[in-house]
C-alpha cells in the first residue's frame, strides 16, 4: 500500500507525493543525527553508488542500451573538472559542466557509431570505447598524469568543492541524487519515457509508430553520460584522487550496472535500492573478513550475487512490486512446492 503505491508507474498520487517528501525529509535529517565521519563516508558512498547507478539506469534500464562502459563518462567528468581546476584554477562547479559536456560529446559519438548494435554487441562495443579512452588517458601522461592519475591538492572552500566536514559532501551528493531521481520520474511519465520504453522493447516497431529512435538513443545515452560525468566530478572532489585503473576500469562500469540491476533496472528507485543493499553488504563483508582468510570476502560476495540473480532475476524492485509472485518464486527456488501437485488418478484408464 505505502511503498508499492508510490512506486507503481504512471500513477502519481497525492499520498505518494507526501510520502516521498517525508522520505526526503528523513534523508536530509539522517546525517545530522549520526555525524561521525565514518558514518558520513558510508552514507556518502551509498548515495554515490545510487547516483552512478541511477545515471546508468537512464540508458541501460530505460532505453535498453546495456552499457558496460559507463566508466568512460564518469571518468570524463572526473578528469574534466579536475584538469580544469588544476591547470586553470577553474572551479569544479563550472568544470563539472564542461566535463559533462565532454561526456555528452563522447556519448554522442558512441551512440552514433553503435546505432545498429543491440544486446551483447552494444555492451561489448561500449566496453571497447571505454577501454580506448582509458588507454588514451594512460598514455597521454603529460596532460592526464598517466597511470598515476591526478591527485587534487586539498584546499577546502566552497568554490573548490572541497570541504573539511564530510556533511557537505553528503548533502551535495544527496541533492544530486534527488535531482536525478526527479529527472527519472518525470522522464518515465512523459512521452519520452514511452518512446524509450517502446524502443527498448522493439526498435523497429517503435520506429514504425513514429518514434525517432536515433534521437531517442542519442538523447538517453547523452543524458545518462551527462549525469554520470557529474557523479564523476563529485567523486573526484571527495576522494581527491583519480586514477585510470579505478575510475576508468571495466570493473567500475560493471559495478555501476550491477547495482542498478540488483535493485531493478528501468525503475526509478531500483538503483537506490541496489546501492542500499550492495554497498553495506560489501562494506560489511570486507570489514568482517579482512585479515582472516584472504579472498573470503569476494568469494562470499560472488556467491551472494549468484543467489540473488537466481532468486530475483528482475531485481529487488520486482519483489516489492509483486511480493506474492516473488514469495512463490523464493519458495520454488528453495525446493518447496509452488502449487498443488499434479493430479494423480487412481486408475490408469479413464
Amino acid at each position: 500500500m505505502t511503498l508499492t503505491s508510490l512506486l507503481a508507474p504512471y500513477r502519481p498520487t497525492r499520498k505518494g507525493l507526501l510520502l516521498s517528501l517525508a522520505m526526503v525529509a528523513v534523508l536530509v535529517a539522517l546525517p545530522l543525527i549520526a555525524a561521525d565521519s565514518y558514518t558520513l563516508h558510508f552514507v556518502w558512498k551509498v548515495l554515490f553508488w545510487a547516483l552512478a547507478a541511477a545515471a546508468w539506469n537512464i540508458a541501460g534500464g530505460y532505453a535498453g542500451q546495456f552499457s558496460l562502459g559507463h566508466a568512460a563518462f564518469f571518468g570524463l567528468g572526473a578528469y574534466g573538472s579536475t584538469l580544469l581546476y588544476m591547470h586553470f584554477g577553474l572551479s569544479p562547479w563550472i568544470g563539472m559542466f564542461v566535463g559533462a559536456g565532454a561526456a555528452v560529446a563522447f556519448a554522442t559519438l558512441i551512440g552514433a557509431l553503435t546505432l545498429r548494435l543491440q544486446g551483447p554487441f552494444f555492451a561489448l562495443a561500449s566496453i571497447a570505447f571505454a577501454e580506448v579512452l582509458r588507454i588514451a588517458i594512460v598514455n597521454w601522461r603529460s596532460f592526464t598524469g598517466g597511470a598515476e592519475g591526478l591527485s587534487l591538492p586539498f584546499d577546502p572552500s566552497f568554490a573548490n568543492m572541497m570541504f573539511s566536514d564530510r556533511l557537505w559532501y553528503v548533502y551535495i551528493m544527496m541533492a544530486a541524487l534527488l535531482i536525478v531521481l526527479l529527472i527519472t520520474y518525470v522522464l518515465e511519465r512523459s512521452w519520452i519515457g514511452y518512446a524509450l520504453a517502446a524502443m527498448r522493447e522493439n526498435e523497429e516497431a517503435a520506429e514504425a509508430l513514429g518514434v525517432d529512435t536515433v534521437r531517442a538513443k542519442l538523447f538517453s545515452i547523452g543524458l545518462s553520460a551527462f549525469l554520470s560525468a557529474i557523479a564523476g566530478t563529485l567523486y573526484a572532489n571527495y576522494i581527491l584522487l583519480i586514477e585510470p585503473s579505478t575510475v576508468l576500469s571495466i570493473g567500475f562500469s560493471v559495478e555501476i550496472a550491477l547495482i542498478a540491476i540488483i535493485g531493478g533496472m528501468g525503475t526509478p528507485l531500483g538503483p537506490v535500492l541496489g546501492a542500499v543493499l550492495i554497498v553495506p553488504l560489501s562494506e560489511y563483508l570486507r570489514a568482517e573478513f579482512a585479515g582472516s582468510l584472504q579472498g573470503l570476502y569476494l568469494l562470499v560476495y560472488g556467491a551472494l550475487l549468484i543467489v540473488m540473480v537466481i532468486v530475483l532475476p528482475q531485481g529487488l524492485m520486482s519483489a516489492i512490486r509483486a511480493p506474492r509472485a516473488t514469495a512463490r518464486r523464493l519458495r520454488g527456488a528453495f525446493g518447496g512446492s509452488t502449487r498443488r501437485r499434479p493430479v494423480r488418478e487412481e486408475s490408469r484408464h479413464a
Partner: protein, 393 residues
C-alpha cells in the same frame, strides 16, 4: 594494560593481494615480536586490519580505522594508489600515515604533514638503474657515452614513473637511449617488443615489470634469440621466486634493482643481525617459507614505529607522534635491508621521505638473488657481465 591499537591497511584481496598479504604477514611477525618484548609503552600491540583492494576502499577503510577504531597511526600499504587515498584521509582526519612500501613519488610531494614514507621512491629506483648501467659500461666493453640503453616498462603508475626516471637519467648521464617503450602488464605476448629491441640492439635493457610480464618477456627474449648483454630489471617482477620458477636457469645473471632481498647480513651491525635472524625465524614459523624483499621492508617500517618512534613520542597523541617521527635518526644498517632512517623535514623538498632509504642491485646467481651493488651492501661478486649469447649457453 589496555592494548595499543595500530591501523594496518593492505590490499588483502583483489589483484594486488599477493604482495599485500606478504607485507601483512611481515607486519604480523613484527607485532608478535614486539609483544613478546612486552609491547610498546608497556601496552600490547593489536592491529585493526583493513583490506583495501582499491582507492575508494582505502578511503573508506582509513576513515573507519581513524574514526571508529581510533587508531593513532595507519601503517601500510604496498600499493601507491592506496597510499595516496589513505594518506589523504589521515591528513584530514588527524592520524599519522606510515607508508612502508609504496613508491610513487607523489606520496611525499603533496606537502602533507602526517605522511611518512620509509622506503625509497620510484624516481630513485629508475635513476639507480641508469646509474648502475653506467657503472658497468666498462665491463660491457663500452664507453658510457656509447652505451645503448633500452628502457621498457609496464604502464601502471609504478612502471611509468620508474621508466621515465630511468630514461631521463640515461640521457642525463650522456648514454644512448635507443628505445623507450611502455606496454600493458596484462599482455599475453611481447614478441613485437622483443623484435623492436632486436632492431634497436641495446647493450643494456632497463625493464620495469610486474611478474607475469617479466617472465613472459624473458621467455620471449630467449625464444626470439635477442642478445641482451645486461638485463637490469626493476621491482618485484624480477625478484620473486616465482620469476625464477618461471624462467629457470635462464634467469641466471639478470639484475634486479630493489630493496635487498638477502642483504649481506655480515655487513650489518650485530643488533640488526640478531633482529634479522629473529624475523626470518618468526616468518618461517608462521608462513613456512622465507620472506621476500617487501616483507623485509615492511617489517623494518613496523619495527621502527614500535621500537623507536612511539617510545620516543611517549604517547599516541598525533602531534607527539609526528614530532618523534620527524626526529628519527637511525644510521645506515639499522633496518634489516641495511638502510637507515632520516626524514626530510617539513618545509624541505619531499617532506616525510626517508633520505636514508637504500636501493641495491641484486643478481640472480645459481638460483639465489645476491646483492652485488653498491659495494657497501654487496654480499657477492657481480658475474656474467656481459651475459653470454643464447647460442653459447
Amino acid at each position: 594494560a589496555d592494548p595499543l591499537k595500530i591501523g594496518v591497511l593492505f590490499p588483502l584481496s583483489g589483484p594486488m593481494a599477493l604482495i599485500g598479504n606478504e607485507a601483512y604477514q611481515a607486519a604480523e611477525v613484527a607485532r608478535d615480536m614486539i609483544n613478546k618484548r612486552g609491547g610498546v609503552l608497556g601496552r600490547p600491540v593489536t592491529y585493526a586490519v583493513a583490506d583495501a583492494p582499491a582507492p575508494t576502499a582505502a578511503n573508506a577503510e582509513a576513515t573507519r580505522l581513524i574514526v571508529r577504531e581510533k587508531v593513532p597511526v595507519i601503517a601500510g600499504s604496498y600499493a601507491s594508489s592506496l597510499a595516496l587515498a589513505a594518506s589523504e584521509v589521515a591528513e584530514r582526519e588527524g592520524a599519522l600515515y606510515w607508508e612502508t612500501i609504496a613508491v610513487a613519488d607523489k606520496i611525499t610531494q603533496r606537502k602533507y604533514k602526517n605522511t611518512i614514507r620509509l622506503t625509497f621512491n620510484a624516481s630513485m629506483m629508475g635513476q639507480t638503474a641508469a646509474d648502475f648501467a653506467k657503472d658497468i659500461a666498462g665491463k660491457l666493453g663500452k664507453d658510457p657515452k656509447d652505451l645503448r640503453i633500452a628502457v621498457i616498462s609496464e604502464d601502471s603508475e609504478f612502471g611509468q614513473s620508474v621508466g621515465d626516471a630511468a630514461a631521463n637519467q640515461t640521457k642525463a648521464l650522456g648514454m644512448q637511449l635507443v628505445a623507450n617503450e611502455r606496454y600493458s602488464r596484462t599482455v599475453n605476448d611481447l614478441s613485437s617488443l622483443v623484435l623492436s629491441l632486436k632492431a634497436a640492439k641495446p647493450d643494456a635493457v632497463i625493464a620495469t615489470s610486474y611478474l607475469n610480464d617479466a617472465a613472459l618477456f624473458w621467455r620471449q627474449v630467449r625464444e626470439l634469440d635477442l642478445h641482451i648483454p645486461a638485463m637490469i630489471g626493476i621491482g618485484t617482477g624480477y625478484a620473486l621466486p616465482d620469476f625464477l620458477a618461471a624462467t629457470g636457469a635462464s634467469a641466471d645473471g639478470i639484475f634486479d634493482v630493489d630493496a635487498p632481498a638477502s642483504p649481506n647480513v655480515s655487513n650489518l651491525p650485530e643488533a640488526t643481525q640478531k633482529l634479522y635472524a629473529e624475523f626470518i625465524e618468526g616468518f618461517r614459523a608462521k608462513e613456512k617459507r622465507d620472506p621476500g624483499p617487501l616483507g623485509l621492508i615492511a617489517f623494518g617500517g613496523f619495527w621502527t614505529l614500535f621500537t623507536d618512534v612511539i617510545p620516543r613520542a611517549g604517547s599516541t597523541d598525533l602531534a607527539a607522534l609526528r614530532k618523534a617521527a620527524y626526529a628519527t635518526d637511525l644510521p645506515d644498517g639499522s633496518l634489516l635491508t641495511g638502510a637507515g632512517v632520516k626524514l626530510n623535514q617539513i618545509g624541505e623538498k619531499e617532506a616525510g621521505q626517508n633520505s636514508r632509504a637504500l636501493i641495491s642491485v641484486m643478481q640472480w646467481q645459481d638460483g639465489k638473488l645476491q646483492v652485488v651493488w653498491p659495494q657497501s651492501a654487496a654480499n657477492a661478486e657481480m658475474r656474467k657481465v656481459p651475459l653470454p649469447k643464447w647460442s653459447d649457453r
